[in-house]
């Protein structure tokens, strides 16, 4: 199995493991407007650096009260900086990837994308259950 497939597999297994955490965060995210969640997904999917995603969350949390309301922003930041950082280290150890390489950085980004995809899905689901959620134009 080549390295990319091994990484994708490890990330998928880890993503299953943090599904419950993503669900909780997705429910907390319902205080945030849909356009903000779409923006977060876009940022995570296009980022080349982990710090780009972290800075994005910090700036949104600082500027928009709804990101702080149920501690969505601070808890998301903490989860990425602590839990996902550890998961990245574990994957790198299992697959013998040096910690200071671009591959290790990519593993971290893949974990973040998986988490945010799950959060966005839970956000949609919870918003619908609660009666339609925020309008997409409420940017």
């Amino acid at each position: 199995m080549n390295q990319q497939i091994k990484i994708a597999r490890e990330v998928a297994v880890r993503a299953d493991g943090f599904y419950e955490n993503a669900k909780t965060l997705g429910e907390k995210a319902t205080t945030v407007k849909r356009a903000q969640i779409t923006g977060l997904e876009s940022q995570a999917n296009s980022a080349l650096k982990v710090s780009d995603v972290l800075d994005f969350i910090k700036v949104r949390t600082a500027r928009h009260e709804e990101w702080r309301k149920q501690q969505f922003g601070p808890e998301l930041l903490q989860f990425i900086e602590q839990n996902l950082r550890q998961q990245r280290q574990d994957i790198c150890a299992i697959l013998s990837i040096a910690d200071d390489t671009i591959t290790a950085q990519d593993v971290y980004l893949l974990l973040i994308r998986a988490l945010i995809r799950q959060i966005a899905a839970q956000y949609e689901f919870t918003s619908q259950l609660r009666g339609g959620g925020h309008n997409a134009s409420d940017a």
Partner: protein, 149 residues
């Protein structure tokens, strides 16, 4: 100038591994100025010379108001940091400048990489500072609510 693929990867890693942590450490020692000042920093960070001129100017200003006393120390330290950054691009862990260049080509690379690193550092610094200011404001409002309760 055009960075090589290796240099781009090195910059990505440096931003995440070095500059992000340095911005957080910086703010543990130096209280940030208000959001308007941070917006100015972001704006000027597009160009290293403009950024340094801005930081020097803000350092030399008479901030008068007691609530802004810490601005001087913040900008003074930022100036020192930016000067150091210019020197560091050639040495580990940065080592971004290609070996064996002419003096002019080397100067161009130093300018390019120092500017890029400074922009990344300011982006991390401003994001962290903004969240710190918002948290402080939240705590202040919670304190006011408790006092009135």
């Amino acid at each position: 100038m055009q960075a090589t693929r290796e240099q781009l990867e090195q910059m990505r890693l440096l931003s995440d591994r070095e500059l992000y942590a340095q911005a957080q450490t910086f703010l543990q020692s130096y209280k940030p100025p208000e959001n308007k000042q941070l917006a100015g920093l972001l704006e000027f960070s597009r160009n290293m010379n403009d950024l340094q001129s801005f930081a020097k100017h803000q350092q030399s200003r008479d901030w008068g108001n007691k609530s802004k006393e810490h601005y001087k120390a913040f900008y003074s330290e930022l100036n020192k940091y930016l000067q150091k950054l210019r020197q560091q691009v050639e040495t580990p862990p940065y080592s971004l400048v290609t070996q064996g260049l002419t003096a002019k080509a080397k100067k161009d690379q130093v300018e390019f990489f120092a500017g890029w690193l400074a922009r990344e550092f300011i982006q991390h610094l401003v994001a962290q500072a903004q969240i710190m200011i918002a948290e402080e404001e939240n705590q202040r409002q919670a304190g006011t609510r408790r006092t009135h309760a």
